[in-house]
Symmetry: C2
Subunit: 308 residues, 2 copies
């Protein structure tokens, strides 16, 4: 006799996720009868207490600081918490690559032109080929980005906590050697989680070490960059430009210099657009339900102590 695995869906049932649970080999049940909860809403509707029976909660966001801020994930939680980090890695990595290529190929200047300004633009157009890109934070997004960069002939220096080699990177540095990377790499993609350790990871000192041709792309969280220092570096042309899907403050207020600096591309935290999200999340849920049913380790586990 094999036990049936019961999964609750919240805040409301959803056809895509119901199908994903069934595909993963479980059945959809009410929360008080469930072994696990797959959540598709925000933090505000999330249950303030969970049944003792529950052993796994799947959250629908890649960055889950909202749940930590609301003290919903205690350090000693007996529950296994997973995020949707892996689900959206490839689409966010695609966005990062788009911002980086648009920068290196000078698309902002091209889109501003209303005349055939070949002589003005020729020297602004560069290539990623042969360049070295530092990918700061080699989690799901960073790992998804590396083969995209490799296909374009760019080399990646990956930075992660342990420094254990990341597949596809020419070199992996541990975070305690991060200071070496600012002068070495040609461009930077920030894909690290928002923690106290990554707050203002890129500030005045780091920007001053970068090459004049550098583009800084941030698809992580606005707090990783000291915005005032970045604005200064961009105004002084100390670096080439910035592609920002996230900002600090966020939303970026009207009239902020980042809106009008010519070497900045701002996208309003839309690297993982809603239309692309539900099928990607359902895919992730089906995979994790299958692992849960089989008793295998779950993907995108959250560490309640570290905070992501």
């Amino acid at each position: 006799m094999s036990a049936t695995t019961h999964i609750a869906l919240g805040p409301a049932p959803d056809p895509l996720l119901t199908e994903a649970v069934v595909r993963g080999g479980a059945v959809v049940s009410p929360l008080d009868e469930a072994d696990a909860l797959v959540w598709a809403g925000g933090v505000e509707d999330f249950p303030r207490s969970l049944p003792d029976r529950l052993t796994w909660v799947q959250l629908p966001a890649a960055g889950v600081e909202d749940w930590f801020d609301a003290h919903l994930i205690p350090e000693d939680s007996p529950i296994t918490w997973t995020s949707a980090a892996d689900a959206f890695s490839a689409t966010v990595a695609e966005h990062a690559l788009t911002l980086l290529l648009a920068g290196v190929r000078a698309l902002p200047a091209h889109l501003a032109a209303t005349t055939w300004s070949q002589q003005e633009l020729f020297h602004q157009v560069g290539t990623l080929r042969g360049t070295t890109v530092a990918v700061v934070g080699a989690g799901g997004i960073g790992k998804a980005l590396i083969p995209m960069l490799a296909a374009l002939g760019a080399n990646t220096i990956a930075i992660n906590r342990s420094g254990s080699p990341v597949p596809g990177a020419i070199e992996t540095l541990p975070t305690n050697r991060l200071n070496e990377v600012w002068s070495r790499a040609d461009h930077f993609v920030l894909a690290a989680p928002a923690t106290t350790a990554t707050y203002h990871l890129v500030g005045e000192k780091e920007l001053a070490q970068m090459k004049p041709g550098a583009w800084v792309v941030n698809v992580a969280r606005g707090s990783l960059v000291d915005t005032d220092a970045l604005v200064c570096a961009l105004r002084d042309h100390a670096i080439s430009g910035a592609g920002l899907d996230v900002t600090d403050p966020e939303p970026l207020p009207d009239g902020h210099p980042l809106w009008t600096l010519p070497n900045v591309i701002v996208t309003p935290h839309d690297s993982n657009p809603p239309a692309v999200r539900p099928p990607a999340y359902a895919e992730h849920v089906a995979l994790n339900v299958a692992r849960f049913v089989a008793g295998e380790p779950l993907a995108a586990r959250i560490d309640p102590v570290v905070g992501y």
Copy 2:
């Protein structure tokens, strides 16, 4: 006793190319003593007659219609002519990918925004992942683009003259089945040579068959697209947008609607920017000189009858 291979450089000696000739195993000689000519200039300075002794001419452009228009490459030429097509394939492919990603991710609308317009922009942001991209013309540029698209999770339908399978494409169609592709693919990259057969390859009829989300990217020659039909399709939102490195007419005149349509990215034929060109050309020359010295088939051979 092995014969020394003599290569002339024109219109003037050049340190990068001299080094490339030596690296390829030959020596630099005056034109009247040379076995081959490696050209680094335009068509206007090109010798109107060539010494009988010459068996190979290397031209510095990827598209060599200027030399055909000037009747410098006769159909029955006893000389082997090579272009620099392969030399710049990867950088032009990178440009095509940049235009396509910028389109699919709605960068023109983002760059025009001066306020955090998340609700307006969210539904405009798409992904290349899971889409089908038709690469029309699977020469050097097309072949370089396919693995870049594959790294982003996009599928390629390649179109070439023979229909013989192109590595990495999910399907290859011969040009006589090109009519099937307009309604099937999600996006289009034009990378075919400019010939009478490719003139206005994309016109009113083809645009009418495309999906509303389609982006058309042209990194080949302006003549492949019927500009007036494209402007109509863009104004009517019959397709999503166009990324054009080449235009017809070219240069695109001031005041042309393509300059101001919001869903168009024009780059003034700078997919292969001067700063990137000399090292890439020297690399190609070194490779072809080595093949010439060894008596092996040369890369990027021009067919004097076909015209490219």
